[in-house]
């Protein structure tokens, strides 16, 4: 077992454990903390996979921005930041469905056809190709961000007037 593999086993273990803890936590702020750790360990795995740019991006965007965004949202919508809530939906159906998904994907992963040697890509090539070879994706992503921006600004804005109650209420 190489150092890479040991590190990966550690990080993957951390990720899975923190994911489980995050999903089972009754305190939503705890979930955010667990999820931050999950994102960090994923970012570290990207470094192991010789994708340092993505590792940094993961740390910046996920562990940084998204986590803060989520915390911020909780602060806005909850009167108290710490408020316990019940994990209500753990029934036999949901457990069965997720276990079945896990089994299918695991079975699939264990029957991979090839396991070629890894290769590395320097960050300059990646950044170059992002604007030349994959320019279309970035442009499309721009449109996605634009529509999300328009929509998010609109939805988050306080609207004038009282809420409309639907009939039947």
């Amino acid at each position: 077992m190489s150092l890479d593999e040991i590190l990966f086993a550690l990080l993957a273990g951390t990720s899975l454990v923190t994911a489980v803890l995050a999903l089972l936590a009754r305190e939503i702020v705890h979930t955010i903390m667990w999820i931050a750790i999950l994102f960090v360990s994923l970012g570290l795995i990207y470094f192991l996979l010789e994708a340092p740019f993505l590792g940094v991006l993961q740390l910046a965007v996920y562990a940084g921005a998204v986590t803060i965004l989520l915390l911020f949202a909780i602060m806005v919508v909850k009167k108290r930041i710490f408020s316990r809530e019940a994990v209500t939906g753990i029934g036999i159906t949901s457990v069965l469905l997720s276990v079945a998904t896990a089994l299918l994907l695991a079975g699939n992963a264990l029957s991979l056809p090839y396991n070629a040697a890894g290769r590395t890509y320097p960050t300059p090539i990646l950044s170059q190709s992002l604007f030349l070879d994959f320019g279309a994706w970035v442009i499309i992503l721009g449109f996605v961000v634009l529509s999300a921006l328009v929509g998010a600004v609109y939805l988050a804005k306080e609207s004038r007037g009282r809420p409309i109650r639907a009939e039947g209420e």
Binding site: W137, I140, S147, A152, L155, G161, R162, R165, A166
Partner: protein, 523 residues
């Protein structure tokens, strides 16, 4: 892919739509909230883009105005490819957006107007990119443009609890499907080392990765196309969203999902047809039959118009999926025809339902009692749409269904069973469409007033009624109630359904050649 000026010319429709978006932003900044101005401007830009697509397709009389460079059709250029099939779908998508933009001009002015039209144009833009994509990631990202725009559109009446609830449900299922389909895409990338759809077609299915990948991408796109069992959001969302947005979802966004399934699975079908034979057809066919059956059966007992239309829309998706499940040029052309018909029918039906409040009609199906008599223009148009949905002859709905089922029979063998299932389903669907027609034209409750009279109502009773007053008065009321733009859109759609239903030859010709090219030439 590099963007030199000559190559930008091929994106004229997309650029036109995007200029419309920028114009809407500028009007917003200028403080203009009038639907007539903003909606009108958006409609004009969508119309220009639509005409440009028609010109690119070489339709009469615009054939000289194509901006596509010669030799571009059918050759892949990075993540995009221009095909006649894709261009036809660009036209279909722009048509659905255009109809919704026109019809919503009649709604009330308000602060949400610029956002609504900007998002409508952005959603149309996303769909335009879907229609030219030759790359799975490009495709899924484009789907996401439309997805994100429509999540917000569903909740754009943000004071309406039902609309926001619908937006929330739509968003959750949508984001989940996005995650699933990108996971699937990652597996496909792992299997092939590329995400190019044309490359998928060229390579053999060498691993279970590809199988799982195709399955997961199908889930993500099947969500947009409202295939069973990924359809459940649709009913709630169509119900809760403003009717014009429901019209756009049913007419545009759903077709985008179907188109995505077509172009992804035409690769899968080709790969597996050699390796796996018949079984993939079985899966797709079963999905189609289940979808149409669930949709039709569930529509039977609905009490509100919007939910009924939502289920009927789900059922229609099943018919259209037959196009790829049969996988012959005729079937694909039939599905395209059915999609075109459905854009008109579903957009029209939801627009009519949106106008119901202005007409003094409630949300229940029973509220439509006697509307055929009191609102002649809207009533007749709605009746034509329902007849077309039911697949009655002389409407475009019939042509599409007939063509599709005929293609199934022609494909023979197992596919004949699909045609029979489709026929049975159409027969079943007639029940609930006829129910609405009956309410609209034969309000039985009024029968009790004369039920005691002698069956021979005429001379023996001496109640010779004068012929009803000329109908123009009620038509004028009707236009005032619905708004002239919406009224004109609805009547226009109905006329289009009839005209194309009686003389569909040009439409069919274009779709035949496009489908043939799509299946033989490449994507």
């Amino acid at each position: 892919m590099s963007f030199d000026i000559p190559s930008i010319a091929q994106y004229t429709p997309e650029a036109t739509v995007f200029i419309g978006v920028i114009l809407v932003f500028m009007l917003d900044v200028a403080g203009i909230r009038s639907r007539a101005i903003i909606g009108g401007a958006t409609s004009i830009f969508l119309l220009l883009a639509f005409l440009q697509v028609l010109a690119d397709l070489g339709s009469w009389p615009l054939q000289g105005l194509s901006t596509l460079p010669a030799g571009l059709l059918g050759t892949q250029n990075g993540p995009v490819i221009f095909t006649n099939f894709g261009l036809i779908f660009q036209g279909i998508f722009l048509l659905s957006a255009l109809l919704v933009a026109l019809a919503s001009v009649s709604e009330a002015d308000g602060e949400e107007v610029p956002t609504f039209y900007a998002l409508l144009s952005l959603a149309a833009l996303g769909m335009l990119f879907v229609a030219i994509s030759a790359d799975l990631i490009f495709l899924l990202l484009s789907v996401e443009i439309t997805g994100i725009a429509t999540y917000v559109m569903v909740g754009y009446t943000r004071k309406d609890r039902r609309a926001v609830e619908a937006a929330m449900k739509f968003y959750i299922i949508g984001a989940l499907s996005t995650a699933i389909s990108f996971f699937g895409a990652s597996l496909l990338y792992g299997a092939y080392g590329t995400t190019s759809l044309t490359a998928f077609r060229a390579l053999p299915a060498n691993s279970s990765l590809a199988l799982v990948g195709f399955g997961m991408v199908a889930v993500g796109l099947g969500f947009k196309a409202t295939l069973v069992p990924f359809h459940m959001w649709a009913v709630d969302v169509y119900d809760g969203a403003p009717a014009s947005v429901s019209a756009f979802l049913a007419a545009g966004s759903k077709k985008m999902g179907l188109f995505g399934i077509f172009i992804v699975f035409v690769a899968a079908v080709r790969i597996f047809a050699s390796a796996q034979g018949f079984a993939l057809y079985l899966a797709l066919g079963a999905l189609a039959v289940i979808t149409m059956t669930v949709g039709n059966v569930m529509a039977l007992e609905q009490t509100t118009m919007k939910r009924m239309l939502a289920y009927s829309s789900i059922a229609q998706a099943g018919y259209m999926l037959l196009g790829i499940a049969i996988d012959t040029p005729a079937a694909l052309a039939g599905a395209t025809l059915q999609i075109t018909a459905d854009v008109l029918m579903k957009a029209g039906a939801f627009i009519v339902v949106g106008a119901a409040v202005g007409l003094g009609v409630g949300p229940l199906i029973t509220d439509w009692r006697g509307v055929g008599h009191s609102r002649p223009g809207i009533g007749a148009s709605f009746a034509i749409m329902l007849l077309s949905l039911a697949g009655m002859p002389l409407t475009l709905g019939f042509v599409g269904k007939f063509y599709l089922f005929f293609a199934a029979v022609e494909a023979g063998g197992y596919f004949t069973l699909l045609a029979i299932a489709g026929l049975l389903n159409s027969a079943l669907s007639v029940f609930y469409y006829a129910r609405i027609l009956r309410y609209m034209y034969m309000p039985e409750s009024t029968g009790s007033a004369t039920a005691g009279a002698h069956p021979l109502s005429h001379s023996s009773l001496g109640v010779g009624n004068a012929p009803a007053a000329p109908a123009w008065g009620s038509v004028r009321d009707e236009i005032r109630g619905t708004g002239s733009a919406r009224w004109a859109t609805v009547v226009g759609i109905a006329l289009l359904l009839l005209v194309l239903g009686i003389y569909p030859t040009p439409l069919i010709g274009a779709m035949n050649s496009a489908a043939q090219q799509f299946l033989t030439l490449g994507l």
